[in-house]
């Protein structure tokens, strides 16, 4: 078999491709649900209801979507410039730690400054921490050609061990019992709830603003053009006068910064302090989200809500039917692969003859 580039993509294919991807994902996960001995239609019904079926379900889904939007944007902007940042998980934790370091109670800086000043400082510190963490791998890639995939991946393990160390010592909350946790963020820095009696917080607005801002940046600015040029063909971009190293470094700062913000917003909006399990892999899921969204910033928002809904819905469904929650990860992984194949088939046609 071989692939032949299509000259035009038919409207029908544009509709059929995503539909086919969804059908394929449902078919695979149905088999798994049957294996677990649960009724398929009821499983999906409960999953949908648990993720999107009520005000409470939606509020939980949006709460879960907030960090995913940030990490999804972090992956999307980096992938646009062909910088494969797989280290968002570590950058998220670095951002969370930086946030607590600036705005923490006792043991933090304890600065007696107006929250109007401290809040931006805290966000800046978090973004900076994430950005600096990615700067090393980006420079190693640009200067020495060291593959950033492996370095950023390995950094995640190093950062998590570092967090564990700090939570045992320097940043440990001396009054906390049980599992190690950092000192709490000052009350004044904790984000307000968007809807009363739910957990969804104003971090959602910041996440949406970042998505919109990134879209504008990529579409309407010179830097955005440079990023797309470097991603499309770094050699041609260099030849055309685009500073490839400069663009790569800027993208690294942007991507790491967004991932760092994910950590700060989680702390300020949801957990109030840093724990070792505050992120169930948001950094990695962000990569999947960026790919599902074809690295489009506004698509990232939609993909985040979809993935968050599946994750939240699976929790509810699992409690009722006993199907393991890992079904959510299977659905997300299968849909990623299915969407990639479907997108390709809209651009290429398969020829079976020689």
């Amino acid at each position: 078999m071989r692939l032949e580039k299509r000259t035009t993509t038919s409207r029908l294919a544009m509709v059929l491709a995503p539909a086919g991807a969804v059908a394929f994902t449902l078919a695979i996960s149905s088999l798994l649900v049957l294996w677990a001995g649960a009724p398929v239609s009821r499983t999906y019904a409960l999953l949908l209801q648990g993720g999107f079926g009520s005000v409470f379900a939606l509020s939980e889904t949006f709460t879960r979507a907030i960090p995913l939007i940030f990490t999804g944007l972090a992956a999307a902007v980096a992938f646009r410039a062909r910088l494969f940042n797989i280290g968002a998980e570590g950058q998220l934790y670095a951002g969370a730690l930086a946030a607590v370091a600036v705005g923490g109670l006792h043991g933090g800086t304890g600065w007696e400054i107006s929250p109007w000043v401290l809040m931006p400082l805290m966000l800046l510190a978090a973004a900076l921490a994430g950005a600096l963490l990615l700067l090393g791998p980006a420079l190693l890639k640009a200067r020495l050609g060291v593959d950033e995939v492996v370095t950023t991946l390995l950094m995640n393990f190093i950062v998590l061990l570092g967090v564990s160390w700090l939570l045992d010592g320097a940043m440990k909350d001396p009054t906390a019992l049980g599992w190690p946790q950092s000192v709490a963020l000052q009350d004044a820095l904790q984000l307000d709830k968007l809807v009363a009696q739910t957990r969804v917080h104003t971090g959602l607005l910041l996440a949406l603003a970042c998505a919109l801002g990134l879209w504008v940046l990529l579409k309407f600015t010179v830097l955005g053009f440079d990023i797309r040029a470097v991603g499309a063909n770094a050699k041609a971009a260099e030849f055309a006068g685009v500073g490839v190293t400069r663009t790569t470094v800027l993208v690294a700062l942007l991507s790491g910064g967004l991932a760092g913000l994910a950590g700060a917003i989680e702390v300020a909006g949801r957990t109030a302090y840093v724990t070792l399990d505050m992120s169930p892999g948001y950094g990695y899921t962000g990569i999947v989200i960026a790919m599902l969204a074809a690295t489009h910033p506004l698509g990232v928002v939609l993909a985040s809500v979809f993935v968050a809904g599946v994750l939240v819905g699976a929790d509810t469904m699992s409690r009722a039917l006993g199907v393991p929650t890992y079904i959510a990860d299977v659905i997300v992984a299968t849909s990623l692969i299915a969407v990639l194949v479907a997108t390709l088939l809209t651009q290429y046609r398969v020829r079976w003859a020689k």
Partner: protein, 307 residues
């Protein structure tokens, strides 16, 4: 310093080094086969989880230990075939496909484990491979047959790569697929075979954890070993002999940090010792970066008739 000498003088330390090196060696050889043919396989982390799970499950269901290893290899091969379909036949991004397969294989394994054992608190166990005490070689005699297999694979893969027509074809499609195609070598078939074989080795690497190093399946038991293999293959300049060297060196430091912690001689917090293997991998990557002889066509998808 005397503590370090005491540790090094103890044969048990070297037994541990070889044991820790085994899954890394198997995984690195697997990555090596894939990358030599020009395809990055970031699916390794998930393939190792899947190999660890299916190999263990097969033995738990009554298959002999070697049957479990075969099942793990088969699992790896099937996942490799999927990766080959996505990256070779469809020429999709190798990064993304690999990460997708890691996510898929990991979540499927965890799902399968939970479905098979819904309500267990302590993981069920099997009887793992026994040490080869019949072997009159000091440190190797205290290893299991899987370690011997891994060591034998090094010269075998070296011979296959450098001394056989199939090995030449594999290296050719990894360096210059157009030229290989011109010589009548099918890039698609060669790359697919290399990925399937390499992924089968990754599956076996995973099964070492559940059938030899431990006797049960745990969540997070692979814990980044797959990613370390991806780093080790760069350190090894894509050569089987150096892959053995790299795996041993890495295992040496890993075993040393463990002993230092246990002996109470550790002056630093344990997390810093645990960081060492990962830091070492990054340092190794940086150290060889200038001279790294990457296969020329690595990560470049090949579409017949397209430049």
């Amino acid at each position: 310093m005397t503590d370090v000498w005491d540790i090094l003088a103890n044969p048990a330390f070297w037994v541990a080094v070889l044991r820790i090196a085994t899954p890394l060696l198997l995984g690195t050889l697997g990555v090596l086969l894939c990358e030599r043919s020009g395809v990055l396989n970031l699916g390794i982390e998930g393939i190792m989880v899947a190999g660890a799970f299916t190999g263990w499950l097969a033995v738990y269901q009554g298959l002999p230990l070697w049957g479990g290893v075969a099942v793990a290899a088969l699992t790896g091969a099937v996942l490799g075939l999927l990766h080959a379909f996505l990256t070779v036949a469809l020429a999709l991004s190798q990064h993304v496909s690999g990460l997708g397969i890691t996510l898929l294989a990991t979540s499927l394994s965890y799902y399968g484990y939970r479905v098979s054992f819904p309500k267990v608190n302590t993981p069920p166990t099997i009887t793992p491979f026994a040490e080869m005490l019949w072997l009159p070689i000091p440190i190797l005699g205290q290893q299991t047959p899987l370690t011997l297999l891994a060591l034998l694979l090094v010269p075998l893969i070296g011979y296959g790569l450098y001394r056989t027509p199939a090995g030449l074809a594999l290296r050719m499609v990894g360096e210059n697929p157009q030229a290989a195609e011109g010589q009548g070598v099918s890039v698609a078939v060669t790359r697919t075979s290399a990925i399937v074989a390499g992924s089968a080795l990754m599956g076996v690497a995973g099964s070492f954890l559940t059938l030899s190093a431990f006797n049960a399946f745990f969540f997070n038991m692979v814990n980044g070993r797959g990613w370390i293999c991806v780093a080790l293959v760069v350190f090894a300049s894509w050569r089987p002999g150096k892959a053995l060297l790299g795996a041993l060196l890495f295992a040496f430091f890993d075993a040393l940090q463990l002993r230092l912690q246990q002996s109470g001689a550790a002056v630093l917090p344990y997390q810093l010792y645990l960081m060492l293997p990962y830091l070492l991998s990054i340092l190794a990557l940086v150290a060889v970066a200038r001279n790294a002889a990457y296969p020329q066509a690595l990560m470049k998808p090949y579409r017949k008739g397209e430049r």
